[in-house]
């Protein structure tokens, strides 16, 4: 028996959440420090696990399986493939950053920061669990349970409309989750009629489900994932939630938590229902393309910075979904890499916008202007994060975006072309934001803008470093992801399109 990495990664933050919650009143700073310490420990553990994973080289590792409810075939089954481990690493790395970013936000609003820190740790534990789950019911439970901490995070710490946003968030996601529950049960029934009733992913993938049944079950799963991801037209909860939540929380929401949706698509929906995935792929590609363009156009039209970033996320999630349903290795690997990269870029954007909001006390673009002069480092950070988000080559999201587009283009030409239009729009929304907030003559409102402080630089620095590193050297991560994506694609069994012109003899392999 090897070291139970995944259970450890789930338990440590969960335990940390409990410990943080138990810190007595009046010791808020201790609670924050404790939570941050736990988050850092988890981050270190995820990094070690990831490195161990990469060095080992097996496609699926850290497998753990214990019977949970044996009579229903429910297992505490965990395992990491390339897709899981990269998202787990993302979660592990982002959490301490988000906590550090929240350090002062909570104080500014004079609310007790302890629950925020405890809830984020709890959420982290659930996220890692969902990414590692190899049992459909376990995944479902975590998928739904993580709504609860996020509901409180939005509802307790958000802006003036936070209750509305929190309820909207919860209702939307619950609706999706319930429909998914029906599909999960349907899946179990399928398994039961074909032999042993089980929720174990590997057994369910091996089932031979009739096509029409696959359709319904696939739609059930996809509905939940499309809401979580979020895909047009199920997206309207995200702008509200992101706008009302604190920037750090919005970062965690769209940077990490929403990835569960796209993760579910590639890790569950595709291998479980390959035939349905093939049948529905064109329709979903259409929705994804609409998401890309629609999100980008709406981002251009926003006046609220946080809403703007939320809409860019919708656009980027469109790209991720597009890559997944291109059903080839470039698209799928690119989409998975994009999940990681979008996490980094969006968190950076939200966090930096949070710094701006702390300084000015407003989230509206019109209240800023000319801030680059008093605060050049802040401006530079915003520009850097923005450039990453718009897919500037050399920064991490570019490689993933390009792979997604290549994958799509090689199968759906028109969709590929339309999705590429998104890169023009991306430049518009990011640069308009930068131009309106940072450039121009210095204004009274931004005259006294302090530049980034030490803590804030500490938050931005690792994000910048990661975005650069993954931009110029994505190979190690992409190799791992490629390994993870391969079995999924083998299950869907579509195969990459061959190049039209076979490679000439004598070229470099």
């Amino acid at each position: 028996m090897t070291f139970p990495w995944l259970t450890t990664l789930i338990v440590v933050p969960a335990l940390g959440a409990v410990l943080t919650a138990l810190v007595p009143r009046g010791l808020e700073v201790t609670a924050k420090k404790l939570a941050l310490f736990i988050a850092l420990v988890t981050a270190v553990l995820t990094v070690i696990a990831t490195v161990a994973f990469v060095r080992n080289g097996e496609p699926v590792q850290f497998v753990e399986q214990y019977a949970w409810v044996e009579s229903f075939g429910v297992y505490w089954a965990l395992g990491a493939d390339g897709i899981s481990i990269s998202l787990i690493a993302l979660t592990g790395v982002i959490t301490p950053i988000v906590l550090t970013a929240m350090w002062r936000e909570a104080e500014a609003e004079r609310r007790n920061p302890k629950p925020f820190f405890a809830l984020v740790l709890l959420l982290e534990s659930m996220l890692i669990g969902a990414f590692a789950a190899k049992d459909v019911l376990l995944f479902y439970i975590l998928f739904e349970a993580m709504l609860v901490p996020m509901y409180f995070l939005i509802g307790l710490y958000g802006g003036p409309q936070r209750r509305y946003a929190a309820v909207k968030f919860l209702l939307y996601n619950l609706l999706g989750g319930l429909i998914m529950l029906a599909a999960v049960i349907g899946l179990y029934v399928q398994a039961a009629t074909q032999g042993r009733g089980t929720f174990l992913l590997a057994d369910l993938v091996a089932l031979d489900i009739p096509q029409s049944t696959q359709w319904w079950l696939f739609l059930g799963f996809m509905f939940a994932f499309a809401i979580k991801a979020p895909l047009w037209p199920f997206h309207t909860w995200l702008p509200d939630a992101a706008a009302e939540a604190t920037p750090a929380n919005a970062a965690y929401l769209s940077g990490v938590m929403d990835k569960v949706g796209t993760f579910g698509m590639i890790a569950l929906a595709l291998p479980l229902f390959p035939a349905a995935a093939r049948d529905f792929a064109p329709a979903i590609v259409v929705l994804a393309v609409i998401s890309i363009l629609y999100g980008a156009l709406l981002a251009i039209g926003q006046t609220d910075m946080k809403r703007l970033i939320a809409y860019t996320s919708i656009s980027h999630f469109g790209l991720i979904v597009l890559g997944i349903f291109a059903l080839n290795s470039q698209g799928a690997a690119g989409a998975t890499l994009y999940m990681v990269n979008h996490g980094l870029a969006t968190v950076a954007l939200f966090v930096i916008i949070g710094f701006m909001i702390v300084r000015r006390g407003s989230r509206f673009v019109a209240d800023y202007g000319g801030a680059a002069q008093p605060a050049p480092v802040l401006a530079g950070s915003l520009l850097f994060a923005g450039l990453a988000a718009l897919g500037l080559p050399g920064l991490a999201p570019f490689v993933s975006e390009f792979l997604v587009l290549v994958g799509t283009y090689s199968r759906y030409r028109l969709a590929g072309v339309l999705a590429t239009v998104g890169i023009i729009l991306a430049a518009l929304y990011i640069l308009l934001l930068y131009q309106r907030t940072m450039t121009g003559p210095a204004r009274e409102s931004t005259a006294g803008f302090p530049d980034l402080r030490r803590r804030e630089r500490l938050i931005v620095a690792p994000l910048v470093a990661l975005l650069l590193a993954l931009g110029f050297f994505p190979k190690p991560l992409l190799d791992v992801i490629g390994e993870g994506v391969q079995p999924v694609l083998a299950e869907v069994d579509v195969g990459d399109p061959e190049p039209l012109v076979p490679a000439a003899e004598g070229t470099v392999p």
């Binding site: 290549v406 994505p474 012109v501």
Partner: protein
């Protein structure tokens, strides 16, 4: 070991000095990182720090060049693989450098002219408090540009391509406290992105068609690909080139880009970056070889832009914008030549290099004038400067003679070659190029006359003075290059045509008339342009405020309505679309959801009345429920 073929030569692996080619890019990258991330204390040594990197790169480039000279002409293409970027499925991309005749020529231009402009900037930017950042951006630009020309894979090229776009954005908006600069920077980036749209699609199409984007994979296989795909890729690459090189219809950003500091205009928006489109077309010779319509499109775009830029240049009173129009026009020439296929590739590069010399010279000269005139850019406020700024005047004149093509200045050789090749290929293109040459004579003479001759129309507080030597030395060097560069490139050794032949291929077309006759005709047309300008601007005093002018002048002043068209066709409908979509999202999509929610809420509040709170009502419904269950059990007869 051979690594396949590019152009008509085999590619060999790196060895010796070539394996250090990566230093070329790394030096300016380190410089940029040090200047941008380093502490403010580096500011004191900004000049040395800023110039060290491009000079070091220049030394490396020169060393590579010398090493390349020592090899057989067919062995001069050297591949320097660095590391694997990624491998997904069957598609893999490695970061590597391709050092061959074409890329080394570019490298020398970029690092050479780049170094001179860096040195010049020491003086020009001496009083700017953000000069450290400025040099950081410049170094970043040099690194990106070198990556662009040295990459051996279209995807890596694209990284450099966007890198220079970013540097351009940062530098145009360098004085970001000016709204106009910020807007211009954003416009440049966005318009470039439209070009990148084509560029991305071209690269993606290559993956679809060839399964690879490496030069070594694409070029040999290009001959086997269907013509339709080649035309598509060719046109998409052209779209990318149009964006970067400010060719019609994506030309509008270049004139606004003059908001940046003048050395930037010289380095990026005249000598190097804007020529990247030409490089791209020439580099993709193998693709255009099988796509005749795409080539024609290149010629058409080049010709239109050459004339457009020239016409715009005629009407501008802003000296930098006049020169920017000229840059558009000259790059149009290069594109035109590049569209002619193997017959014109070498001439395109030849003109590109000489243009790099004299246009940098002209911009730096203009910068020098501005430096002396309190950053005044309106030529109607100049006049009679030849006596107070002698060095600038003399060196500017060298650039002037070079651009209008007076022998033996550099432009004469390169432009003549292009016009001749154009005539040999297509009469209309040739005629366009010829007319363009005439207009060039006109507007450059206008610039010259308005700036250095005539009476002094200076602003009252202007005290023109010569620039410091740190600025004039680069002017002298560039003036020298403008004088001898053309002849040297054409005749020293085998000349540039022969040098590039392994990369671009060779095709000789016969001109209908003798070469000397053609040369005379061109010279005559140019002289007519000069004479007309003299007639208008040299012989009578110039009003300080611009006269209304003819409709043509007005149109030219407004960049031939390029911006107006963009605004009417893209911006306004775009804004309308965005605004209406925001409305639709709030009211339509979200409205549907919220509407459903409130409908459920209303239904529930109706239903709520059933909840009387009386235990006995609840008991009644329980009893009814029990009855229903019993009935259901009876009906189903559960075991």
């Amino acid at each position: 070991m051979t690594l396949g073929e590019i152009g008509e030569q085999t590619v060999s692996t790196a060895g010796g000095v070539f394996s250090a080619a990566w230093l070329l890019i790394v030096f300016p990258l380190i410089g940029a990182a040090a200047l941008l991330l380093g502490s403010r204390r580096l500011d004191r040594a900004y000049g040395v720090l800023g110039c060290m990197a491009p000079l070091a790169s220049f030394v490396v480039a020169a060393a590579l060049f010398v090493a390349m000279l020592g090899r057989e002409p067919e062995q001069r293409a050297i591949s320097v693989p660095l590391y694997d970027l990624f491998a997904v499925g069957d598609y893999q991309v490695g970061v590597g450098l391709l050092v061959d005749q074409l890329s080394i020529a570019f490298s020398l231009l970029i690092t050479g002219v780049g170094s001179l402009i860096h040195v010049y900037s020491i003086g020009y930017m001496a009083h700017d408090e953000n000069r450290q950042r400025f040099f950081g951006y410049l170094n970043l630009f040099v690194a990106a540009m070198l990556l662009l020309v040295l990459a051996d894979d279209y995807l890596v090229l694209y990284v450099g391509w966007e890198g220079v776009g970013l540097a351009s954005y940062l530098l145009i908006g360098f004085w970001q406290h000016k709204d106009s600069a910020a807007v211009a920077a954003k416009k440049a980036f966005v318009v470039n992105r439209v070009g990148d749209f084509g560029m991305s699609l071209a690269v993606m199409s290559m993956v679809v068609v060839f399964g690879t984007t490496a030069f070594a994979g694409v070029f040999p296989a290009a001959a086997d690909a269907s013509e339709g795909w080649l035309i598509a890729i060719g046109l998409l690459l052209l779209l990318g080139a149009c964006g970067k090189s400010a060719q019609f219809p994506l030309q509008s950003w270049l004139l606004d880009a003059m908001e940046g500091p003048t050395p930037v205009s010289a380095l990026i928006h005249a000598a190097t970056m804007v020529t990247a489109g030409v490089y791209l077309v020439v580099r993709s010779a193998a693709i255009y070889a099988g796509a005749e319509p795409a080539q024609t499109a290149v010629v058409v775009v080049g010709t239109i832009t050459a004339l457009m830029g020239a016409i715009i240049g005629c009407a501008k009173d802003d000296i930098k914008k006049a020169l920017a129009g000229s840059t558009m026009s000259q790059i149009g020439y290069m594109m035109l030549a590049a569209g002619l296929g193997p017959a014109g590739y070498a001439f395109a590069i030849f003109h590109l290099l000489t243009h790099g010399f004299f246009k940098a010279e002209l911009f730096l000269g203009a910068g020098s004038v501005m430096h002396g005139m309190n950053d005044e850019v309106d030529m109607r406020r100049y006049g009679g400067l030849r006596t107070v700024m002698r060095t600038t005047y003399v060196t500017f004149a060298a650039g002037y003679l070079a651009i209008i093509g007076i022998p033996p200045f550099a432009g004469f050789f390169s432009k003549d070659s292009i016009i001749e090749a154009a005539f040999a290929n297509n009469f209309v293109a040739g005629l366009g190029a010829l007319v363009g040459a005439g207009i060039t004579g006109f507007y450059m003479t206008r610039v010259m006359l308005m700036t250095f001759f005539g009476e002094r129309r200076w602003a009252p507080d202007a005290h023109p003075h010569e620039s410091p030597s740190v600025m004039t030395v680069p002017l002298w060097i560039l003036a020298g290059l403008s004088l001898v560069g053309g002849a040297a490139l054409l005749y020293v050794g085998g000349g540039i045509v022969q040098w590039l032949e392994p990369v671009t291929g060779e095709e000789h077309v016969e001109l209908g008339i003798p070469v000397w006759a053609m040369t005379l005709v061109i010279l005559a047309v140019v002289l007519v342009g000069v004479a007309v300008a003299w007639q208008i601007f040299g012989r009578q005093p110039l009003p300080v405020t611009a006269p209304a002018g003819s409709p043509v002048t007005v149109a030219a002043r407004r960049d031939l309505y390029g911006d107006a068209v963009n605004e009417a066709v893209f911006m306004r409908p775009g804004q309308y679309l965005t605004r209406s979509l925001v409305y639709v999202d709030n009211r339509g999509v979200d409205g549907a959801v919220v509407g459903t929610a409130s409908a459920v809420g209303q239904f529930s509040s109706r239903l709520r009345r059933w909840q009387t709170g009386f235990v006995r009502s609840y008991a009644l419904s329980m009893l009814a429920g029990a009855a229903v269950v019993v009935i259901a059990m009876l009906l189903v007869r559960l075991p």
